[in-house]
């Protein structure tokens, strides 16, 4: 188009502010609530045990299956562990594994997507076919197969979850890279002899940061949710260690006998935290004005 890019649309900003994203985020009530929830849970799980210390390794068969009462605010489970303490204990695992796996998935996805997007041509085509293949195999199916073969430790679990989840962020980052690589400032750099390395390091990656951060937030939400499935599928951490998903699936049978205190707390915890991360991701995306979740 040869003609002017002149805009005659009404102004949407009186002043172009650097703090604009922060302000937009702060105005999004759901997002701020989400942030508060995450902070609360982090405190609950990591600072909580210091204030309310319970024994989560030894069983106490005198205190089995008690409903919530004065000394056990959330009751006890089938081997006598204090449920409230267990919630904190399990939360540590859920949150840590979720955060680590989510970030790992984002890192792998970013690298893969950026290389594919920047290289273009057949490299891009092949790399994206691999991604398509990965997406085609449902994550839960793969996890179930893995559970039939082996039972991983925490680190192994993080790696497996990361390997199963990096596919979605890779597509997002690839799309972002494609857009950025055709921006005028990158073209100008190439035209005067700038190297690919400089284009990526100095222009493409820094301008992708907001997309990457949003993707990472959603990945953490998904990872925490995936962790909740993991015990249900038989891949979970071994007792006496536990996580929220483990508590939830272990307590499923208890639901029918009316022992609601074994499933409602972990269930609510999972729902609240995953919602919270999703709300934060949504808020960040609106604040940075990015489109799409992929």
């Amino acid at each position: 188009m040869s003609a002017a890019l002149r805009t005659t649309t009404p102004p949407t900003e009186a002043v172009a502010g650097h703090r604009l994203p922060l302000r937009r985020f702060a105005r999004n009530r759901l997002a701020v609530a989400g942030l508060a929830v995450v902070v609360l849970f982090l405190l609950f799980c990591f600072v909580g045990p210091l204030l309310h210390s319970t024994d989560q390794t030894h069983t106490d068969l005198t205190q089995v299956n008690l409903a919530p009462n004065g000394s056990h605010w959330l009751g006890t489970d089938a081997v006598g562990h204090d449920e409230l303490g267990r919630l904190m204990y399990g939360g540590k695992v859920s949150l840590l594994v979720g955060l680590a796996a989510g970030i790992l998935a984002t890192v792998i996805g970013t690298l893969w997507g950026a290389i594919a997007g920047y290289a273009g041509g057949w490299i891009d085509a092949v790399m994206m076919r691999v991604v398509d293949a990965g997406i085609a195999i449902p994550a839960l199916f793969i996890l179930l197969v893995v559970s039939a073969i082996t039972t991983p430790d925490t680190l192994g679990l993080i790696v497996i979850l990361g390997l199963v989840s990096w596919l979605v962020p890779s597509r997002l980052i690839r799309a972002e890279t494609l857009t950025l690589k055709n921006r005028d400032y990158v073209l100008t750099l190439r035209a005067i002899g700038g190297t690919h390395g400089r284009a990526i390091a100095r222009h493409i990656l820094p301008n992708s940061v907001s997309t990457i951060v949003v993707a990472a937030t959603f990945q953490v939400a998904d990872a925490i949710l995936l962790v909740a499935y993991v015990s249900y599928l038989g891949l979970g951490v071994q007792p006496p260690s536990t996580d929220w998903g483990g508590m939830l699936s272990a307590g499923l049978t208890a639901a029918y006998s009316g022992r609601w205190w074994l499933i409602v707390p972990p269930g609510l915890a999972i729902i609240l935290v995953v919602c919270a991360f999703n709300a934060i991701g949504d808020g960040l995306r609106d604040a940075f004005d990015i489109k799409g979740r992929g």
Binding site: S2, T7, A14, L187, T188, A191, I192, P206
Partner: protein, 556 residues
């Protein structure tokens, strides 16, 4: 009774960062059958006035004052009353035809929708009337075309469809907001002809919003000039354009690049010698094809051109002519399918690695979009210093800063700007920063692709002056791509006219633009409107006569 009356219109926008007053106490009127042009640069508020007239302002706008169309109040009206008005008593044509139509609905249906909004016609009747309208706006083969989708039409044709929708119910007022800005100049001429004919036929009043003084001279009976939300001058077109009274109008008119046209009886001057020194850029038989098989796009076909040291070559053409592609080939950004590119005497296609980078260090680049040309995450100083970091890695930081400051001053920007971010700058300032970056290594060639097309006329003048000044000082050659013939005429020593991927003609600017050798160039020049109503009227008559003889109907 005036078909449009606006009195003391105030429009304020509420944004995230505060209130923005866009229009202040604007008053104007349009008589039935006359055309009032509302001119101004970006931010003047002219589009806001147009949108306010139909109640189409966005939700965050507050309008006060009196706006009446055919006696009916608009400001206080509710949505139901307004929708009865829109498309019937008054309608609007917008700037961007590419996005003005629903991509998934056939154009006949979209026109029929407007008809049935206001008249109790059956679907079949409305459809046949749509076809009649398409014929009236000059779409060939209207029965067939009515079932086409917007993407199957060209920009000019899409604009004709939008116009058809606008006149479907014979409105008394037609508001046109930059209706031809997004179109090529030849298409622009045709669309303006169409609008003029339609308005004359049905006695429709027209409010024409534009920044282009040539369009004003071509079309308007009266002119209102807007500056920062206020109307500073109003009057008949000949008065305002030839004898402006307000300071701003005078400044605006003097900044408009005027195309000098040949007076009848002029004799072409003798062609000056073409310099024979080693060319700075040489494109030889360049062809660029995108895609394969049946869908091959032949962007360039056997294009050969050179730029000699120190000279400015203007590369002109309409959209799709290949001028930008040619510039990118010269920059090494687009590999040619065949042919060779030489920079400073060395074949660019064969140069690799360090040798290639060394060649490119002698080139500076300025592109069209002031927003996208600077990475907003870097400060102005870092942007300008980038070529230094690429090619002079050993340079100490202090020296780099000094160099940046020096070149900023050269482009008439204060050296303190180096610490600021691009977001804080205006379009013209950004382009000058882009220019500073292009010149920081003192290149032998500057490639500028539409560097001022996205800027207001007054700002454009400053940027062009700066380029000329620096060229005198530093002696670089310049490959200047533009669709604006007047700018090229002012600026370039030689001009290359491109059309559909091929070179129509090339030669010294003087002779080529005043006495063009090919039909295409003649038509191109004839289509450019000049801001002198008297002269423009004569040129229009000549152009129509030439078209009638040449038999080029409305195709775009």
């Amino acid at each position: 009774m005036n078909i449009l009356e606006i009195e003391n219109l105030d429009v304020t926008f509420t944004t995230e960062t505060g209130d923005v007053p866009a229009v202040r106490e604007a008053s104007l009127y349009v008589r039935p059958g006359e055309t009032l042009a509302l001119v101004g640069e970006s931010g003047s508020g002219k589009s806001t006035v147009a949108l306010a007239a139909l109640g189409l302002l966005s939700g965050n706008a507050r309008a006060t004052g009196r706006v009446e169309i055919g006696g009916v109040d608009v400001v206080g009206a509710n949505e139901a009353d307004l929708s009865r008005l829109r498309g019937r008593t008054a309608s609007m044509v917008f700037q961007e035809p590419a996005t003005a139509l629903d991509p998934l609905t056939r154009i006949g249906a979209q026109i029929a929708e407007v008809i049935r909004n206001h008249r109790p016609l059956s679907a079949k009747e409305a459809a046949s009337e749509a076809v009649t309208l398409l014929r009236r706006v000059g779409i060939p083969d209207p029965e067939q075309r009515a079932s086409a989708f917007p993407f199957q039409l060209s920009g000019g044709q899409r604009q004709r469809v939008v116009i058809a929708m606008a006149i479907a119910n014979s409105p008394g007022l037609l508001i046109a907001d930059e209706p031809t800005t997004a179109l090529d100049v030849t298409v622009q001429a045709e669309i303006l002809d169409l609008l003029r004919a339609l308005a004359a036929d049905s006695g429709t009043g027209v409010l024409l919003v534009t920044h282009n003084m040539g369009v004003v001279a071509d079309f308007a009976d009266r002119v209102a000039v807007m500056l920062q939300g206020e109307i500073v001058e109003t009057g008949p077109v000949e008065e305002v354009l030839l004898r402006p009274s307000h300071e701003y109008t005078r400044r605006l008119l003097s900044a408009v690049p005027r195309l000098t046209v040949a007076e009848p009886g002029d004799v072409p001057a003798a062609a000056p010698e073409v310099p024979t020194d080693a060319a700075v850029v040489e494109l030889r038989d360049i062809s660029v094809h995108f895609g394969r098989g049946r869908r091959t796009v032949r962007a360039l076909q056997d294009v050969s051109l050179t730029v000699a040291p120190g000279e400015t070559v203007g590369l002109v053409g309409e959209s799709g002519s290949g001028k930008s592609t040619a510039a990118r080939v010269a920059l090494g950004l687009v590999p040619p399918t065949s042919g060779s590119v030489a920079l400073f005497g060395t074949d660019l296609g064969r140069a690799r690695g360090r040798a290639r980078r060394a060649l490119l260090a002698g080139v500076g680049v300025v592109l069209q979009d002031p927003v996208a040309s600077l990475d907003a995450r870097m400060s102005v100083g870092e942007c300008v210093a980038e070529p230094l970091r690429v090619h002079r890695r050993g340079m100490p930081a202090a020296e780099r800063r000094a160099r940046v400051a020096e070149v900023l001053e050269r482009v008439r920007l204060p050296r303190e700007l180096a610490g600021r971010g691009p977001r804080e700058l205006s379009g013209g300032q950004r382009q000058r920063v882009s220019l500073a970056r292009a010149l920081v290594l003192e290149p032998r060639l500057l490639v500028a692709d539409e560097p001022t097309s996205a800027l207001d006329v007054s700002v454009q003048q400053t940027v062009l002056e700066v380029i000329t000044e620096l060229q005198d000082e530093l002696g670089f050659a310049c490959l200047f791509v533009s669709h604006d013939l007047a700018v090229v005429q002012q600026f370039a020593q030689r001009v290359v006219v491109m059309h559909a991927g091929q070179i129509e003609e090339q030669g010294p600017t003087e002779t080529t633009l005043l006495h063009p050798g090919t039909d295409y160039t003649r038509r191109l020049i004839a289509a450019v409107p000049v801001p002198d109503p008297v002269l423009q009227r004569r040129r229009r008559a000549e152009r129509r006569a030439a078209l009638a003889v040449g038999g080029t109907g409305a195709t775009a």
